[in-house]
């Protein structure tokens, strides 16, 4: 039986907007096993992004408990969370979020600066990650010199450069044309199946969700029971 890497029990998150309280996540229970590719779907405001942020330790729950890779993240302070994220989480953003003044290689090297690798090892690892996403010939290019699809592939290279346990993707195809979106999803599927990466992806896109091994729906902050969907063949 596969190891559970993410386990949330009665997880809730409430936001205060002026005098109003908005319950973004309501008593959510979820288990994600190592090697799963989970797509979180749901309409806007359903709580999928909130759940993703809590898993990635980018936000703190109002109540409930979440353990990621066996660690109770509520016990960590800011600096410990930062180190933990660097070591265990790779993040892929909808808008790529590359640093515009750094080249593709420097962007990918950035999270490696927080590891114990020396300069040469960092460069070598960043180059390997860029070759893996098919951008071996674009290493010295700045983000503005790349297409949207290429930018997202650099972002994927950056996310996998530290060899994290979990990849978290926030609408990774949201800003891409159909072909680039398909390329990115094939790449994520490959990372999941060939390299065993656990992936949690938030998406509105049914086509993108079909690449996942598990699709979970959220509605009004509640996680719906798991249902079987036809999977995209590899």
């Amino acid at each position: 039986m596969s190891e559970v890497v993410i386990e949330a029990r009665k997880l809730s998150k409430t936001f205060k907007r002026d005098e109003f309280e908005v319950r973004a996540l309501d008593n959510c229970d979820i288990e994600i096993k190592r090697g799963e590719f989970v797509a979180l779907m749901g309409p806007s405001g359903s709580g999928k992004s909130t759940l993703m942020h809590l898993i990635a330790a980018m936000d703190r729950a109002t109540s409930g408990r979440i353990a990621v890779l066996g660690e109770d993240l509520s016990q960590f302070d800011d600096a410990e969370l930062a180190r933990w994220r660097n070591r265990h989480i790779g993040f892929i953003f909808q808008q790529f979020n590359l640093i515009p003044v750094l080249t593709a290689l420097e962007n990918v090297e950035l999270p490696l600066k927080l590891t114990s690798l020396n300069g040469k090892e960092r460069i070598a690892q960043a180059e390997t990650a860029l070759r893996l996403v098919g951008l071996g010939d674009r290493m010295t290019h700045f983000p503005r010199q790349l297409s949207g699809g290429q930018e997202q592939r650099v972002a994927i290279a950056r996310a996998i450069a530290t060899d994290p346990d979990i990849l978290i993707a926030d609408e990774p195809t949201g800003n891409l044309d159909a072909q680039s979106a398909s390329d990115v999803m094939v790449m994520l599927q490959k990372l999941n199946q060939d390299f065993g990466k656990t992936i949690i992806m938030v998406t509105h896109d049914r086509h993108a969700a079909e690449y996942a091994t598990v699709i979970r729906h959220l509605e009004k902050g509640e996680l719906k029971p798991e249902v079987e969907y036809p999977k995209k063949p590899v």
Binding site: H53, A56, M58, D59, D78, A79, A82, R83, R85, N86, R87, F91, F93, Q95, N97, I99, P100, V101, L102, E106, L110, P111, K113, L114, R158
Partner: protein, 389 residues
């Protein structure tokens, strides 16, 4: 681990227009401070370079300057006989009776003209007491003639005081027969002439200004000065020639105070400019900050990065400031001394120490302006930062 330095440098380059304007603002402030420091440094240097070790200036009791001092020939005769004064090969005491007055000359800077000190002295031993002063052009004045030798700064700043020309003051014309070079000394701002000619022109031949004597060995200068002060019959005051000139550098104090005050007021403005630039940078790069935090960089790394960027911006301003004032180096100007009531010309001195002070001042402005924006960047919550556009 901090963010790569290239990240900051390239961000400054990307917004090079703003970077340049902010650096220029800081640079101008640094330039104001440096020009004041260079002016004060130049003036101090002129006074500090004046005087020879062992020379003692004797004036009327409690006189603060040669101009306001009265020193009689009788007092001089008594002084010459005192033990401790060096004597030349002929046995003559190295003691020079001198008269200092001011004359009004045309100036390149002021239409109304400027006051210049004129010193009446005997070539022997007056010149022997000031061996560092050399003739740069022409010759020394001759005893018994209405001739003057002018300091090089007088020649530089007064169109009349040129070799071969006549200066008109007192009872008539004085022929300029030479220009002397006293190094960096304030003596460059004086006109020298024969004592008897000057005193008769001034109708002041019994009561002159001062006496300069050479005491040997130099270690005896202190006791010699004390013995003069203790002598109730002589009623004179004395100090080393070097101390006399050093204390005149107080003429620079009002300018120094005003200059530093202006520079500090400007520094507040420049710090706000740097702060504004950095706040704008933090606002524009909000999503980058969020991304960096997600990648694992700590709040402190973000703070340090933006703070360093502000310092680099300020450093650039400091360099601009240094470059702006560099052409002033060696530029000769003059200042009216409140002690001699005449002009002392000196050169602006832009030294490496002064430039380092300017860079330090710029970094101080950068630190002042950069700290709050850097703290604001570090305080941002990840999700808020990622949502900002």
């Amino acid at each position: 681990m901090r963010l790569p330095f290239s990240y900051n440098l390239r961000n400054l380059w990307v917004r090079r227009g703003t970077t340049l304007m902010t650096a220029l603002g800081i640079g101008l402030t640094v330039a104001v401070l440096l020009s004041i420091l260079a002016l004060v440094g130049g003036l101090r240097n002129a006074f500090a370079s004046t005087g020879v070790a062992g020379n003692v200036l004797v004036m009327r009791q409690s006189a603060e300057s040669e101009l306001s001092s009265n020193f009689t020939r009788e007092q001089f005769q008594d002084l010459k006989l005192r033990p401790g004064i060096q004597r030349d090969a002929t046995g003559q005491a190295l003691a020079s009776l001198e008269l200092v007055s001011t004359v009004l000359l045309d100036s390149v800077d002021y239409e109304a003209g400027i006051n210049i000190s004129i010193r009446g002295l005997k070539p022997n031993p007056g010149f022997a007491l000031r061996p560092e002063i050399k003739i740069a052009a022409g010759r020394w004045f001759s005893a018994g003639k209405r001739e003057v030798t002018v300091g090089k700064n007088v020649a530089r700043r007064n169109p009349e005081a040129q070799l071969g020309k006549d200066l008109r003051f007192g009872k008539g014309a004085w022929r300029v027969v030479g220009v002397f070079d006293a190094g960096e000394s304030a003596a460059n701002s004086e006109i020298w002439a024969d004592l008897d000619q000057v005193c008769s022109d001034d109708n002041r031949c019994d009561t002159l200004s001062s006496a300069l004597v050479r005491v040997e060995p130099v270690s005896n200068v202190g006791p010699f000065i004390q013995s003069l002060k203790d002598d109730q019959r002589l009623k004179v005051g004395a100090m080393t020639e070097q101390f006399y000139y050093e204390q005149q550098s107080s003429s620079a104090a009002p300018i120094q105070f005003l200059g530093i005050f202006i520079a500090l007021v400007m520094a507040v403005g420049s710090s706000f400019a740097a702060m504004n630039t950095m706040y704008a940078a933090v606002a524009r790069r909000s999503r980058e900050i969020g991304t960096l935090r997600v990648l694992g960089f700590s709040r402190f790394s973000v703070l340090l990065s933006f703070f360093l960027e502000s310092l680099v911006l300020a450093l650039l301003g400091g360099i601009v400031g240094c470059l702006l004032v560099l052409p002033l180096d060696g530029f000769t100007t003059g200042i009216g001394s409140l002690i001699t009531f005449s002009e002392v010309a000196f050169r602006f001195k832009i030294t490496p120490e002064i430039m380092l002070m300017g860079i330090g001042f710029a970094l101080f402005m950068g630190a002042l302006g950069g700290l709050l924006p850097a703290a604001a960047a570090a305080r941002k919550q990840i999700l808020d930062a990622l949502r900002d556009i």
